[in-house]
């Protein structure tokens, strides 16, 4: 079997195994991590859960790129008679399958977003709403629609139904909330989440982290929108309830859903806003220091791993994987 083909199989199989191992760990800590998120600032909790969600895919890719590839290239002989075991092939194909499922999910989301934008363009007219985070489509509909759609050039979609029920103050609070989503690049993060393989497709840990991230991303946008003002906090709470009321009053918009947590979420958000106006997120000062320290530690680790003796040991493991069930 040619060297390049063996190299690809071993790299993919290594990726899959590291991904599964990291995924198991992440899956185990997903629920406690979401609970812990409730005790810290929402934007930090959202960041932490996002990092955990992406860890299996990113960690596995980095492990292969930084350790697996140099070890294999420096120690594997170019013997054309060598073969890859069936076990190794199956594991590698499983990894490919995981990526295929995730990429399909990302593409499906991108396609439906495209369709949504086109229909918004047909159903409404493009306008500039004062305070809106992006050019806005005002859609002729009674739907409870107030959403920021898209990544590169996001557009705000708002229905006449929502414009009719919100007061000027409530609308301003709602628009600040959407602006906060835009500055946090939440739709880009959504795309990353959708396109990255989960721990295993449809695994519970993945769903827990994704739901947790969505919750804290909403809370963080609420915090940023009200920025410590009780008046704004109250206006945003009122906007949430008024828009939810449109959904409640029309059976068409409140179809039976498997997301049973939604009413809890609305109640939790409103209660949170009314309890005490949440302060806006602080500008990170210590995070630069923490990032620097993490980079320094990772660099040192990489240098230690790239020593010939360490690479040789890794190669021994890769050899076993390569000839797994031959």
């Amino acid at each position: 079997m040619p060297f390049l083909v063996r190299f690809l199989f071993v790299s993919l199989a290594t990726y899959t195994l590291v991904h599964l191992a990291l995924g198991m760990i992440v899956s185990l800590i997903a629920r406690p991590a979401v609970h812990m998120g409730e005790r810290i600032r929402p934007h930090l909790a959202a960041r932490g859960l996002l990092a955990l969600r992406l860890l299996p895919a990113v960690g596995a890719a980095l492990s292969v790129a930084v350790v697996g590839v140099p070890s294999y290239l420096s120690n594997e002989p170019e013997a054309p008679t060598e073969r890859v075991g069936y076990g190794c092939m199956i594991v590698a194909l499983l990894g490919l399958g995981m990526w295929a499922v995730s990429i399909a999910r990302g593409l499906r989301a991108a396609a439906s977003f495209r369709s949504f934008s086109q229909h918004c363009g047909q159903a409404g007219r493009l306008a500039h709403l004062p305070g809106a985070p992006a050019p806005s489509y005002i859609v002729d509909s009674t739907a409870p629609l107030l959403a920021l759609a898209g990544i590169v050039r996001p557009r705000l979609a708002i229905s006449r139904g929502v414009l009719r029920v919100l007061t000027a103050e409530e609308l301003a609070a709602a628009l600040r909330h959407e602006r906060a989503h835009r500055s946090a690049h939440d739709n880009l993060k959504r795309l990353c989440i959708l396109s990255m393989p989960g721990i295993l497709p449809l695994a519970a840990g993945t769903r827990t982290l994704e739901r947790g991230w969505r919750k804290f991303a909403e809370w963080a946008a609420d915090d940023r929108a009200v920025a410590g003002s009780e008046r704004r906090s109250c206006a945003l709470a009122a906007a949430l309830v008024r828009v939810a009321r449109i959904a409640a009053d029309s059976p068409r918009f409140s179809l039976a859903s498997s997301l049973l947590g939604d009413t809890d979420q609305l109640e939790a958000r409103v209660d949170r806003l009314l309890r005490a106006a949440p302060p806006g997120p602080r500008i990170a000062g210590r995070s630069t220091l923490a990032l620097g320290a993490a980079l320094l530690m990772s660099g040192s680790l990489v240098v230690a791993i790239l020593q010939p003796a360490a690479l040789y040991s890794v190669h021994q493991v890769l050899e076993r994987l390569e000839h797994f069930v031959e």
């Binding site: 918004c120 509909s141 009674t142 739907a143 309830v241 959904a247 859903s257 939604d262």
Partner: protein
Amino acid sequence: MTQDALGHLERHVMEVLWAHGESNVHDVVRRLGRPLAYTTVMTTLDRLFKKSLLVRRKWERAFLYAPRWTRREWERKRAGDFVAGFLASPQASGDQLISSLVDAVGQYDTALLDELERKIRSKRRELRGGGNG
């Protein structure tokens, strides 16, 4: 329901009516430009009327049909229906590239909403009393 997708013949009939305005069944059969039975076209017009896409009035012993909306109005309405339906789809919540103010998929309990509104009113009174801005 107007949001229902149109079949091929229905769309063709709508095109004829948008182009020529109010017509009876004979006119539509003639303008369709293909051999179709009178009863087929009559059934199609009746179906479009029941879908609220056409209005009709009796003239002598036949019905005259006309589009309820202009083509542009209809396309707008259809797009609006799509947008509203998009929010209510089970996929809308997580697997979308949109950040919605409120998840439309949830089944909001009106009693809960009443309770939340009561809390908001009470908070507003408190703010007015304290003068907090």
